[in-house]
């Protein structure tokens, strides 16, 4: 059973550019959440997708957008990159409905984004 997979693992971009990160959820999961983890900090919630719609959003600007596909995979897009966007981006998948254990979040290994 494949867990949560993210691609790419590392990425270097220039200020002002745009980037797309990808996530495939754990088999059977229908909800994908994205988190930003700056160096030395805990993960910060960006947004969550379910049924191809953004359902919840954290305190992030509109430069951060996403998409969920019919197969539940998801993309995170960041426009007009800033130096401060350099971070580890984590994807987590879960099941929206069901008993408590079904909502446990499983995380991928993240994408390390460096903006220069």
């Amino acid at each position: 059973d494949a867990g949560v997979t993210q691609s790419p693992t590392h990425l270097i971009k220039t200020r002002g550019q745009q980037v797309t990160l990808r996530c495939s959820p754990k088999s059977g999961h229908d909800t994908v959440s994205w988190y930003q983890q700056a160096l030395g900090q805990g993960p910060q919630f960006i947004f969550q997708y379910y049924e191809e719609e953004e359902r919840q959003r954290g305190n992030f600007p509109d430069r951060f957008s996403g998409h969920q596909f019919p197969n539940y995979s998801s993309e995170l897009n960041v426009n007009a990159l800033l130096l401060g966007d350099s971070a580890l981006y984590l994807c987590a998948s879960s099941l929206a409905w069901g008993g408590y254990r079904h909502t446990e979040a499983f995380f991928g290994q993240g994408t390390r984004l460096t903006v220069v």
């Binding site: 959440s33 919630f45 969550q48 359902r55 879960s94 929206a96 408590y100 446990e104 979040a105 995380f107």
Partner: protein, 119 residues
């Protein structure tokens, strides 16, 4: 908004000894979940243990146990018989039990505690 505070940036423990990591949180909700996650150098966040706020009994998973004090809003993690493989960043996280219609949840994380294990 719920906040999670981990006041120990770094802790050290000798192999086979016991260590306790602290976590406090702030919430006005009565029904919620608390978690401890481990993040080794591989970066993947791994769930260590969970606690449901409505359960008075402290959760235990093998060498890992918690001390959940709901009134004090405290949720500490005790690691017994520490092993070299326990060395990692440990994050305390909060999740509301309330769901919006057709949505899942969002985790609020603390800043983490780096655990060093010495031979």
């Amino acid at each position: 908004a719920q906040t999670v505070t981990q006041s120990q940036p770094e802790m050290s423990v000798q192999e086979a000894e016991t260590v306790t990591l602290s976590c406090t949180y702030d919430t006005s909700e009565s029904d919620y979940y608390l978690f401890w996650y481990k993040q080794p150098p591989s970066r993947q966040m791994i769930l260590v243990i969970r606690q449901e706020a409505y359960k008075q009994q402290n959760a235990t998973e093998n060498r890992f146990s918690v001390n959940f004090q709901k009134a004090a809003k405290s949720f500490s993690l005790k690691i017994s018989d520490s092993q070299l493989g326990d060395a990692a960043m440990y994050f305390c996280a909060y999740r509301s039990a309330k769901r919006r219609l057709n949505s899942g949840y969002a985790l609020n994380f603390g800043k983490g505690t780096s655990l060093l294990v010495t031979p």
